[in-house]
């Protein structure tokens, strides 16, 4: 059992949990992910690590209550336990001093971007951060990101905060004005696809963090197949970070939707789905 030691609501339906898992915390690095299971009938879901506190032996995960399992997870409170929490999985981000870099985060993707940005800043990079959300109330980790960035920008789709429009608008501006060595982009699949299309003409290497469907997370099932260049890679062991310019995005986006119908069925039949009184 793994205890939830702290919870925080970051935005409507976006929650932060700090979970006690000292062995995982001792080894985890920026860019890696964990897999958890809420209860004995639960599915294994991957979540990218949003922060690591080695002294306290905890890891921070952030999730949006979008499906059956994330909603069920969201029903839990401080002091509750989940049955399984395994990690750290995947390869850590390649942190070095590149020079001037840009970190772009969208929606809940800002959370996993944060430890990477912090590590890049600590490695001596000049960090330009661009984060975005649909609207101001959905924007998360603003203060955290600001603290580890030399330049910080915000975009909201509805213009309720910062630039009205998309993170790509701001990114394009940066690329037009300054020489950038590398870009990290984490967010919804469609956002990462558009960012890669934006950065390609500038020939700036763009690293994305994939979040495909997984089961075991150790290279055993191949559910997380991603087509990178001419090769099929397993995001769980070869990734989750890949060169975004080489990814077959249409395929990746389609594969994320394999169980969409089942997800609806689970929610309709689910013990939670609001039925537990949590919503």
């Amino acid at each position: 059992m793994y205890q939830i030691v702290a919870t925080k609501i970051l935005a409507p339906s976006i929650k932060l949990f700090e979970i006690k898992a000292p062995k995982v915390a001792a080894k985890a690095k920026a860019g890696q992910f964990i897999i958890l299971r809420v209860d004995d009938e639960g599915e294994r879901i991957p979540l990218t690590i949003a922060d690591i506190n080695r002294n306290a032996g905890t890891l921070t995960i952030i999730f949006q209550e979008v499906g059956y399992t994330t909603k069920k997870l969201g029903c839990l409170n401080e002091g509750d336990n989940i049955v399984d929490f395994v990690g750290p999985l995947g390869q850590p981000s390649e942190i070095e001093n590149y020079g001037r870099i840009v970190c772009v985060g969208g929606g809940v993707g800002v959370a996993p971007l944060y430890p990477i940005t912090r590590a890049l800043k600590e490695a001596g990079n000049e960090v330009i951060s661009i984060i975005g959300a649909r609207s101001k109330d959905l924007l998360i980790f603003e203060e955290e990101m600001k603290a580890v960035s030399d330049t910080f920008m915000v975009a909201t789709d509805d213009g309720s905060y910062g630039h009205k429009g998309f993170v790509t608008d701001l990114l394009k501006q940066v690329l037009d004005e300054q020489e950038v060595k590398q870009i990290w982009a984490i967010g919804p699949g469609i956002m990462m696809k558009v960012i890669c299309a934006t950065t390609k003409p500038y020939e700036v290497p763009t690293i994305v963090s994939m979040n495909p469907i997984m089961v075991d997370g150790t290279g055993m099932c191949g559910a997380c197949r991603v087509s990178v260049g001419d090769e099929t890679k397993f995001a769980c062991v070869d990734g989750p970070e890949f060169d975004g310019h080489l990814i077959d995005w249409d395929l990746a986006l389609r594969r994320m939707n394999i169980f969409k119908d089942e997800e609806k069925r689970a929610e309709a039949a689910g013990s939670c789905g609001g039925g537990c009184g949590c919503q």
């Binding site: 080894k27 099932c221 197949r225 594969r255 089942e262 689970a266």
Partner: protein, 462 residues
């Protein structure tokens, strides 16, 4: 008394009924059937059957106990050598092991050793197993990496030698392929769980959710005071064919298909939260035991048509005869001498069929089997909406790639000495599929047993 020539048949669920449930197919001998079958054993002096058992079970002795109606005693006899008898009684290929050496088998059916093993083990599980005696501790600590058949066997034997054993299992339950791979209808998970509980009672500490190579490495385990390490991480890397369309929605590796269904209980979806999507027409590519499991699972999940697609001929199928028969009885259709060259998708990326070619048999190849040769112009389209790739698994690289100083073979398996499992790294032993490539449960158990002996000797001399 004249010898009964035929093996007492195994009662089983009617194929028409069982193909739509996940209950066990073979329901097991009754006491009367077991006594009848045990009587067939002539207790011959030279005991040839024993040489066919990778874990050296004293077969005549346990059968004699059944004859004496001491069923729990029979199970105890089995457990002197075999830590998972209820599992082995179900999934061992006895026809090519113990039973192939049976004296009776020269003229008649061999004694149903596997069926008797299952009977005795089940009897004891049902009657309640007494807690085993825990051997006095030697003070030595051994880490076992991987909680599958090899690791569990090594762990149990090492505990019996008095060593303090910790098993590190990556998944949320121990059992390895017994839990994620072999279907419920062939090996009920309750049975596996109970045999693992017994191993725990021997004093073995099983830590789940522990991915060695990501948490501690093998070197770090040695630094942290483990006196030896056994690696039994199995063949957990699914192979694909590398043909166009393999990443379309609706193409699974057999590992994913079976893991979702068995380990994650997707057949109970949505009560169990893990989904599986099954079409009306399912093609399983390959013809080993895993492929049969996939094809039979597909039927139980509601597929209207389930095909085995295999590029060689019937007599070359690597699956056990029993598995093939069961699949046929349940209505699995066999497209032999056939192989896909492309998986074709709909506009929105779902499988709609496979372009296949037909083969004919030529001269024998390296494996001694007649080589399949493609027939020019034989391309045809096979309409299916789900494809399961069951063409084999390789060694999972997670542990080998994080263990410097341990020699590997070109395909990524670990170099280990035959009979001891000694690797080229001091204090590190390995066995099972991670050494041999994908093989059987019992061979992995045999390797675990050999390694336990060798580790015990190593620790005594250390």
């Amino acid at each position: 008394m004249p010898i009964i020539k035929v093996k007492t048949s195994m009662p089983s669920q009617d194929p028409k009924v069982r193909k739509s449930n996940f209950n066990e197919v073979a329901t097991g001998y009754t006491k009367e059937m077991a006594l009848q079958e045990a009587e067939r054993c002539i207790q011959c002096k030279n005991e040839p059957c024993r040489q066919g058992c990778p874990v050296e079970v004293d077969i005549p002795a346990f059968i004699q106990k059944i004859k004496d109606q001491d069923f729990a005693g029979a199970a105890d006899k089995l457990k002197e050598k075999n830590n998972l008898p209820a599992v082995c009684g179900r999934v061992c290929p006895q026809e090519s092991q113990c039973e192939s050496f049976c004296t009776l088998g020269k003229k008649n059916d061999p004694v149903g050793i596997g069926r008797l093993e299952r009977f005795a083990a089940d009897y004891q599980l049902e009657a309640g197993v007494l807690d085993p005696e825990v051997t006095q501790s030697t003070g030595k600590r051994v880490a076992v990496v991987g909680g599958g058949p090899a690791g569990l066997t090594a762990a149990a034997d090492l505990a019996r030698f008095g060593h303090q054993v910790t098993v590190f299992e990556a998944l949320h339950v121990a059992g390895g392929v017994l839990m994620y791979g072999i279907p419920e209808f062939r090996l009920p998970k309750e049975i596996v769980q109970r045999e693992i509980d017994y191993i725990r009672k021997l004093g073995v500490d099983i830590q789940t959710n522990s991915v060695i190579g990501k948490l501690d490495t093998v070197d770090e385990l040695l630094e942290k005071g483990y006196d030896a390490v056994f690696i039994g991480t199995g063949a957990g890397l699914p192979y694909f064919m590398d043909i166009p369309g393999e990443n379309l929605n609706g193409v699974y590796s057999a590992n994913e298909f079976l893991t979702r269904t068995n380990l994650m209980k997707a057949y109970k979806f949505p009560e169990a939260a893990t989904p599986i999507k099954i079409g009306k027409r399912v093609a399983v590519v390959g013809a080993g035991n895993v492929a049969m499991d996939g094809a039979r699972t597909a039927l139980r999940l509601g597929a209207e048509e389930s095909y085995i697609v295999y590029r060689r001929a019937a007599e070359q199928m690597p699956a056990r005869d029993e598995e093939i028969e069961h699949a046929e009885e349940e209505g699995v259709q066999f497209k032999l001498l056939t192989s896909p060259i492309e998986i074709v998708g709909t506009e929105d990326g779902w499988v709609k069929g496979m372009t296949c070619v037909e083969y004919e048999l030529g001269e024998p190849d390296d494996s001694g089997r007649r080589r399949p040769i493609k027939i020019e112009g034989s391309e045809f389209f096979m309409e299916v909406d789900t494809v399961v790739m069951a063409i084999g698994q390789g060694p999972n690289p997670l542990v080998p790639s994080t263990t410097p100083g341990m020699e590997l073979k070109s395909k990524g398996t670990i170099v280990a000495e035959d009979g001891t499992g000694k690797t080229t790294k001091d204090g590190v032993f390995a066995g099972g599929d991670i050494v041999t490539g994908a093989a059987t449960v019992i061979l992995a158990m045999g390797a675990g047993k050999d390694a336990a002996k060798a580790i015990n000797e190593y620790l005594q001399n250390k």
